[in-house]
Symmetry: C2
Subunit: 193 residues, 2 copies
């Protein structure tokens, strides 16, 4: 079986599934499919470029990108645009030239288990998880298509190092541009009083 | 030296630093500090509860949470609120009761390298990276404080499985509630025409 390109070197699909289990908690279908999607993008990109990544959904795909590329949420090389499209893009961070991979809904016709999972056609409890995983691994990138894209780098470019100050209310540091007190103390914190 | 609680079992600080290097790309000061912050939160939470997590910044801390807890961006158990506060919360997903850990700016006075890095007081090039990492490891959670919080679960509760449809323009699936065409085709995609 073909290998999947990971952060360093190639790994087997089985190794990838195990990595997903330990990082994501379980072998989520979306993260497994995401592995084949990242791999397809890698295959159509030149070697030796510095990659940035975009996920067009916050579900599952960010973890495939984080496990297989240098791009993570915390280092800022992966950005999530939550459009609800099951698609990801790897691109040259200098030029914006990249490969966008998406689920090709027409190609799903051949894979009934994947199709019913993807479109949520049956309740999750009734889904045959084993058969689904089997079809996902058999299909590989065969349910995906890709396109060349040019990412608009301007809105993504790293902000200048924001000037920090100490919030007079909570005494924590925050970007001075946020106002006289931090956004948390402005009432945006997700905590109950 | 004290150990750090990871996804499964405890690891040494050195093991954590190596994990950060391979996942995040380098031993970023913020992710190393984040490890001590997650550990401090763990120490004040009961065992055997299902955890969700919040990061109040998109910088560095999400990777510490993802490496040391079951919570990732892709599985939805980690949410990022980008307030620019260097703080994180681990909480019981059923009750919202949690521990919020933050950098205590007063405690930074004892650690000049960490303070100058944290407040960006000197250009990154002039920062002594080795001395900084040394101070971070020596300080551990000693630069942090924590507080009990109750997370407001209502706005965070999982949305019902959104009905999906196929976009007549791009032929990809998207949440039907987004409109007659997907948000990407509505002009929100980050790609140049």
């Amino acid at each position: 079986m073909a290998k999947i390109r990971a952060k360093t070197g190639n790994i087997t699909v089985e190794e990838y599934v195990n990595t997903v289990k330990s990082f994501h908690g379980y072998a989520a279908p979306g993260v497994i499919i995401g592995g084949f999607m990242v791999n397809l993008a890698h295959q159509h990109l030149p070697d030796g470029i510095l990659l940035d990544a975009i996920s067009e959904t916050e579900v599952c795909l960010p973890d495939a990108v984080q496990l297989l590329t240098p791009c993570t949420i915390g280092n800022g090389w992966l950005k999530v645009f939550n459009f609800g499209r099951f698609a990801l893009t790897l691109y040259d961070k200098d030029t914006g030239d990249g490969i966008r991979v998406y689920i090709d809904t027409e190609k799903l016709e051949k894979w009934p288990e994947i199709k019913s999972w993807f479109f949520k056609l049956i309740p999750r409890k009734e889904q045959d998880a084993e058969k689904l995983l089997q079809q996902i691994i058999e299909a590989g990138a065969g349910i995906c298509s890709y396109q060349k894209v040019k990412v608009d780098l301007a809105p993504l470019s790293k902000k200048h190092r924001a000037k920090l100050t100490v919030c007079p209310r909570c005494k924590e540091s925050y970007p001075a541009a946020d106002g006289a007190i931090c956004r948390g103390c402005q009432g945006q914190a997700p905590y109950l009083k």
